[in-house]
């Protein structure tokens, strides 16, 4: 459990981060979202003390981060940044093994861990271990960057706009990968982004920052249906709110018995996908399949009824 307790950062009398208090449960993804200058990155960097807080403190599993020397603290906390920050002169293996090397792990343990992580990120260890960052694609570089941050099995993984430099298609794959790996490893992740779509898509909880203050800290569904301030509503985008909400609800929640024409949707698809399929092909209902077997259908009326619950 990460407890952030009235943490404040002041530059020349201006509060970049103003008395933020929040608690992050172990094994969850928390997204900090805000516009540039909202203090979201400063907040993140105070957790591993890349910025020293002006006041307040952070406790990881009850222990204050101020009790450890900063560089020792950082070796326990994974850190991944935009533009990956890989060492251009080290091979992929040495990049991933950087923190274990700092922690003086034995060589064979490091190389086993490197291979394990590469496999986890769907990169063949034999093919990639000895390559240099410049020989990888943007998506691969980003995956190595996240693998490096996870290498020493840190208590917490901090990510600062990790997908910012990727193009939209690779970005959504990277987000899926992150979700999958987080669920597999049970890691605790705090991720900073300016992209509300990313926040809603990835976050178990979303923290919205504005002018250094934490204005709302809630689940994605709450953020969309009950924005706490006008700013949060703006970030969500009033017009798109219903669609965003639908994108959070899986079709399995409103599936009903019956048949429908045309191609089926998987049970994991969202109501937004179902709506799009209906509108695009002119149907009033689409079949839903689970493991290739049709289990029922979703109708336009059911989608409308579900959306109106929040209106």
């Amino acid at each position: 459990m990460i407890e952030i307790d009235r943490i404040t950062k002041t530059y020349d009398g201006v509060h970049a981060v103003d008395s933020v208090t929040m608690t992050v449960e172990t094994g969850t993804i928390t997204i900090i979202v805000g516009t540039s200058g909202s203090g979201k990155t400063t907040l993140l960097r105070m957790i591993n003390r890349l910025e020293e807080p002006s006041s307040g403190e952070v406790r990881i599993n009850g222990e204050s981060t101020l009790a450890t020397k900063p560089h020792l603290l950082r070796r326990r906390i994974g850190y991944a940044i935009q533009g990956h920050g890989l060492f251009p002169h080290h091979s992929v293996a040495r990049n991933i093994g950087a923190v274990p090397e700092l922690l003086n792990w034995p060589k064979d343990k490091i190389s086993a861990r490197v291979d394990e992580l590469l496999t986890l990120f769907s990169m063949d260890p034999v093919a990639f271990r000895d390559r240099y960052p410049a020989e990888l694609s943007g998506g691969q570089q980003q995956r190595v960057g996240v693998a490096r941050a996870l290498a020493s099995r840190p208590d917490l993984l901090l990510m600062d706009e990790p997908f910012g430099a990727l193009d939209p298609i690779i970005r959504s794959r990277a987000q899926d990968d992150l979700r999958r790996i987080q669920q597999r490893l049970g890691s605790t992740i705090m991720l900073v982004t300016h992209d509300m779509d990313e926040a809603i898509r990835l976050g178990d909880r979303v923290a919205v920052m504005d002018g250094g203050k934490l204005v709302q800290y809630a689940t994605p569904a709450e953020i969309i249906s009950q924005p706490a301030t006008g700013f949060v509503a703006d970030m969500v985008g009033d017009v798109e709110r219903p669609l965003r909400l639908l994108s959070l609800i899986p079709v399995s929640e409103v599936v009903e018995d019956g048949a429908a024409e045309g191609g089926a949707l998987p049970a994991g698809a969202s109501l937004r996908d179902a709506l799009a399929a209906c509108l695009w092909t002119g149907r009033t209902a689409v079949p839903v399949a689970h493991d290739d077997a049709v289990v029922g259908r979703v109708t336009l009326d059911a989608i409308r009824a579900r959306a109106e619950l929040h209106a």
Binding site: N48, L50, P70, H71, L72, L73, R74, R75, R76, Y79, I81, Q82, G83, H84, G85, L86, F87, P88, H89, A98, V99, L102, Y132, P133, A134, E135, G145, R148, A149, L158
Partner: protein
């Protein structure tokens, strides 16, 4: 070619054709023509390389055979030296060779082997005595001991000042990298020093070191005096500081900011960041600074000859005083050769320290 009755008077020109019988000149001329035809059209660098080598061989042939033919029957003091035509052809072939090599872009190891081969070839040719009748080598023969001495002194000046500048400059560069205020005061002072013309710098060192030598007890005993080695050495060290410090700062700053941020974020101490990230990434730039200093100092050390600092400059300035062109060449050619060789060696080193394979996507 020119022949002269002795080494001071101007020689009279002799064209290639009048040099000797056709059986001697023909192979050389043919080789030069073949070399030019192969080398000048620039389609294939391999061909250009071969052309350059054939052409150089032709020149060498003419030089060795022509010299002995001309000296036959001339007086004891007669001197033979190659004339403008030879130097121009030599320059053209060397350029062709350099260009061909630049296009072929051989790896660092291949270049090292090639350099060693060229040096060995040059050494064998000089050693064999085939050229010993040329005036510049006659000049050399008459002052072998002085030449060896000058060579050692020249190297001591150039390399010693480089080592001193490095010993001072690297730590200073690292400090400047860390602290912006130090950087902003140090670099302008160093570039100011670099601006002072070399002769003036050497000159200004004389009264300063003379004063130190006369006032500090013991200073004279370790060789600090107004004239000679010490002022030349100190002037060279001062000139070397800017490239060393400037390139150290630039090299350390060349590490990508994201990589440094990541290094800090993963818990590296400042020392670990310097040793594991900044230095390895900056090494090529830092070594480029060393290359600049080395080439520059080999050239500037010539001026030490003027203030009794020794080195090849002694021959150059003696030659200038006596208007003896061969003596000037005896000083200038080794300097140029030394500068070229050290530039190539340093380039190879820079390539070897490049942290990532070249040409990666």
């Amino acid at each position: 070619m020119t022949v002269a009755a002795n080494r001071i008077v101007a020689g009279e020109g002799v064209t290639v054709l009048a040099l000797a019988g056709a059986e001697v000149t023909l192979p050389g001329l043919v080789a030069i023509l073949v070399g030019l035809t192969l080398g000048l059209p620039g389609a294939w660098p391999q061909l250009r390389l071969v052309g350059a080598i054939v052409g150089l061989a032709g020149l060498l042939w003419l030089l060795t055979h022509g010299a002995s033919a001309l000296l036959d029957g001339a007086g004891d003091y007669a001197r033979v030296s190659p004339a403008v035509g030879f130097w121009c052809l030599l320059l053209i072939f060397m350029l062709l060779m350099a260009d061909a090599l630049a296009n072929l872009a051989p790896g660092p190891l291949a270049r090292g082997t090639l350099l060693a081969a060229v040096l060995a070839a040059a050494g064998i040719i000089l050693w064999s005595g085939a050229l010993s009748e040329l005036s510049i080598l006659q000049e050399y023969a008459s002052r072998k001991a002085a030449f060896a001495n000058a060579a050692l002194r020249h190297l001591a000046l150039a390399l010693g000042s480089l080592a001193t500048a490095a010993a001072v400059g690297f730590p200073l560069g690292i400090l400047c990298h860390r602290r912006a205020d130090l950087r902003e005061t140090t670099l302008p002072v160093l570039s100011f020093l670099q601006t002072i013309p070399s002769l003036a710098m050497f000159g200004l060192m004389i009264p300063i070191l003379g004063w130190v030598g006369n006032t500090l007890p013991g200073a004279q005993a370790i060789g600090i005096a107004g004239i000679g080695f010490a002022p030349a050495f100190l002037a060279l060290v001062l000139y070397s500081l800017l490239p060393v410090v400037g390139n150290t700062v630039a090299g350390l700053a060349s590490a990508p900011p994201a990589a440094l941020e990541a290094a800090r974020g993963m818990g590296m101490t400042p020392r670990q960041r310097l040793l594991r990230v900044e230095l390895p990434l900056g090494l090529p730039v830092i070594l480029t600074g060393v290359r600049i200093v080395l080439v520059q100092n080999i050239g500037l050390a010539v001026i030490a000859g003027l203030i009794g600092g020794g080195g090849f400059g002694t021959f150059v300035f003696q030659g200038l005083n006596q208007t003896a062109a061969d003596l000037i060449l005896l000083g200038a050619l080794p300097t140029v050769a030394l500068a070229l060789v050290s530039a190539i060696v340093m380039d190879i080193l820079v390539d070897l320290t490049r942290p990532t394979p070249k040409g990666g996507a």
